[in-house]
């Protein structure tokens, strides 16, 4: 039950090295260059975080993986790191060491889907064109989750545009290369996705504060106006608390706390609200924030996609209502 001891200095060093890596890439066009980024992430050991070394990972904790996801978000590179990390966890959970190692190394790009049990399998926010492996996590039974691995079809497509096909039954087992229990998959995905959203919000807040300090209207930097100050202060207030909650929930997961999955669901609901924060930053930037050439839309779009992933926001919200919890006890 006791979370592992934290090492703030090591966490700081990890974050700095992640900043150097993501900051040195040009993820502004994620479809190009994503493979290079993946390999760099693999070389740095970031993709294997939270996976035991004897299972093909880099060791460490879910918390550390979350901290790297946050930095990925801050550089608008969440869509490269998050799916690969979770796919590696799924492969490790499925006990496929060879596949785990290739995913951890970043040499085999992957996508991951979550079946919400109602026929909706949501693709991870990654560029599917790059993926060589697609993982599906079934969530039809609240406490029994399984990871499946699909291979690309001969014609180069996956399973067609109707993702309902991904509801694997016995007769589609030929598509399954490996399947096993992956108990923490959904909970971990909530935490990692949430940290990426927080990073996206913080990264855009940082850029916005630079802008409002420089942009002059009515003879003064617009950041001196209380309407702007208070809007951005609210973004900060939201980030600092949501971040504390998500990290606390990831610590609970690392400590095998039985409440961890529920805490991570709540933390993801909170982060989904944080996904709306880039909108406030866009508003503070005014017209320039609405252009394709500014970076704002990349942060906004990634955050809004992660808001619906691994589960649609409304599905997740419904699952944590008092009546839902009572029904699932």
């Amino acid at each position: 039950m006791t979370p592992p001891d934290r090492d703030p200095e090591m966490e700081q060093a990890l974050a700095e090295s992640a900043h150097a890596l993501f900051g040195g890439t040009k993820p502004s066009q994620p479809d190009q260059g994503a493979l290079d980024v993946l390999r760099a992430l693999g070389n740095a050991g970031f993709i294997g975080l939270g996976i035991a070394e004897d299972a093909g990972g880099s060791g460490g904790s879910a918390r550390l993986a979350g901290l790297v996801a946050e930095v990925a978000g801050a550089h608008a590179a969440a869509i490269v790191y998050v799916p690969q990390l979770l796919a590696a966890h799924a492969a490790a959970g499925a006990g496929d060491r060879e596949l785990t190692e290739s995913l951890v190394a970043g040499t085999v790009p992957a996508a991951i889907f979550f079946d919400d049990g109602a026929g909706n399998a949501l693709p991870s926010p990654t560029a599917l064109d790059d993926a060589e492996k697609v993982f599906v996590q079934h969530n039809r039974y609240p406490r029994r989750l399984a990871a499946s691995v699909l291979s690309r079809r001969d014609d180069g497509t996956w399973l067609g545009p109707d993702w309902h096909d991904l509801r694997l039954e016995g007769d589609t087992a030929s598509a399954v290369e490996a399947a096993a229990e992956w108990r923490d998959g959904l909970a971990l995905s909530h935490g990692i996705s949430a940290m990426a959203i927080i990073g996206l919000a913080q990264g855009l807040l940082d850029r916005t504060t630079v802008y409002v300090n420089a942009r002059v209207q009515f003879g003064a930097p617009i950041g001196s106006f209380q309407a702007i100050k208070h809007a951005l202060a609210d973004v900060y207030i939201d980030i600092v608390h949501t971040r504390a909650l998500v990290l606390g929930a990831l610590d609970a997961l690392d400590g095998d706390d039985p409440d961890a999955a529920h805490l991570l669901s709540l933390a993801k609901v909170a982060a989904d609200g944080t996904a709306d924060r880039p909108r406030r930053c866009l508003q503070a930037m005014g017209g320039i924030g609405f252009t394709w050439e500014s970076d704002v839309h990349r942060y906004l779009k990634q955050a809004l996609r992660l808001r619906q992933w691994p589960l649609p926001h409304l599905t997740l919200r419904a699952s944590v209502r008092p009546t839902s919890l009572a029904a699932n006890r």
């Binding site: 039950m1 006791t2 979370p3 807040l205 504060t209 409002v212 300090n213 003064a220 930097p221 950041g223 001196s224 209380q226 702007i228 100050k229 208070h230 951005l232 202060a233 609210d234 900060y236 207030i237 600092v240 608390h241 949501t242 504390a244 909650l245 990290l247 606390g248 609970a252 706390d257 409440d259 529920h262 805490l263 709540l266 933390a267 609901v269 909170a270 919200r317 419904a318 944590v320 209502r321 008092p322 009546t323 919890l325 009572a326 006890r329």
Partner: protein, 390 residues
């Protein structure tokens, strides 16, 4: 059908996993004292500062005498020299007894921290033990009719005459003014620029030059007062820190107030959310109400984890950034929302105590105003935290 799901209470929010024995010791000490003075937590919804004050004073006195009222203070003043993390554990145990804040809350939350950091050894020895046992009740004289958010524009003045301080001016929103023995008062003592030339004085309240008028609030309580000082006297050595350095003294005290004082308020907020969850028929309340409850639970957890981080920061001897300002805003606004939810649910008959929830709504409105309005907090966050221009 009434649900009572315990998951929430089980979440170990304070990192006390390796500190069970201290918590058990604190809990036993508090429960013993509560039994001795006949303190019974209110059966009514999250009783506030006004509930059974005579017994609460006895309870605090007893626990002060036994070293449990301020464990983070040095032992020589009645504490135990413990880290703030253990102070937080005791605060959490107080909240289990239905005690949201210390009886002598201005003394414990603002004045004592100022004295501990800036007071002379004589001031500490004279006042700290007496605060701990509620033998000295304190109020704070900060705001004035013309100096609210712009506190540094205060005009109450003090000058030395015949070897003592003479104070003249008017204070307002003086919490506990009507029963206080002393006032921690800010007065202009020099000609320096706005923030300079202010001193923090320890002024006795029971003297002819002090006039007090309680102010009735919208919730019916008379918690704070207007106070007039007309040539009121204070000894020459009643200045905290250097003369004309009162602004810095006060800012450090207020920052402490935001951190640890808020910690206890936040425990009470979580308790209120827990009570609402436990007492409500959620099968009838509807999804909209359920979502609002979940939002309150999330706010409670997020505050607890964030304040937990802040305690770590303070225990490392770091004053921290603007995190405590952020928590003050989130706490006060979340508290208002859960009170409104309780009022809505109780009006519709899904949860009991409609009158108490309505009163809770009224009380909640003070929280975004006191201890620095939320607007001022947002300015501080933007300027000191985000680096936006003043």
């Amino acid at each position: 059908m009434i649900f009572y799901i315990r998951y929430y209470a089980q979440v170990p929010v304070l990192k006390t996993v390796d500190d069970h024995s201290f918590r058990a010791e604190a809990r036993a000490a508090l429960e013993t004292a509560a039994t001795e003075v006949g303190w019974v937590a209110s059966a009514a919804l999250g009783a506030g500062d006004g509930y059974d004050r005579p017994r609460r004073r006895q309870l605090d006195r007893l626990l002060g005498q036994r070293g449990w009222a301020a464990v983070a203070w040095p032992a020589q003043y009645g504490g135990r020299g413990e880290p703030l993390r253990r102070h937080a554990i005791v605060a959490e145990e107080f909240s289990r007894l239905g005690v949201a804040t210390p009886y002598n809350r201005v003394a414990m939350g603002i004045v004592a921290p100022a004295l501990l950091h800036h007071g002379s050894s004589e001031q500490k020895a004279l006042h700290l033990p007496a605060m701990l046992t509620c033998d000295e009740i304190w109020c704070q004289g900060f705001s004035e009719p013309g100096a609210g958010s712009d506190l540094a524009s205060l005009r109450t003045s003090a000058h030395v005459e015949n070897g003592e301080w003479r104070v003249n001016g008017q204070k307002v929103w003086t919490t506990l003014g009507a029963e206080a023995d002393y006032c921690f008062l800010l007065a202009r003592t020099g000609d320096g620029a706005k923030h300079r030339g202010i001193s923090a004085l320890l002024v006795p309240m029971h003297q002819p030059g002090v006039l007090i008028r309680p102010i009735k609030q919208i919730n019916g309580e008379e918690d704070f007062c207007e106070v007039w000082f007309e040539d009121a006297r204070a000894p020459l050595d009643a200045v905290v820190g250097e003369v004309n350095s009162g602004w810095a003294v006060t800012m450090s005290a207020l920052s402490y107030e935001r951190s640890l004082h808020l910690l206890q308020r936040q425990f009470r907020f979580r308790k209120l959310v827990d009570e609402l969850r436990a007492a409500t028929d959620w099968t009838s309340a509807g999804a909209a109400a359920e979502d609002l409850l979940v939002d309150s639970e999330i706010a409670g957890l997020a505050l607890a984890y964030a304040m937990d981080d802040q305690i770590d920061t303070l225990d490392r001897g770091d004053a921290g950034g603007v995190e405590a300002n952020a928590s003050k805003v989130l706490w006060s606004e979340s508290y208002r929302r859960v009170a409104e939810l309780g009022a809505d649910l109780s009006a519709a008959g899904y949860t009991p105590s409609p009158a108490e929830w309505v009163n809770e709504c009224y009380s909640s409105l003070a929280t975004s105003i006191y201890a620095g309005t939320n607007e001022i907090q947002r300015n501080i966050i933007a300027e000191r935290g985000l680096g936006l221009p003043r």
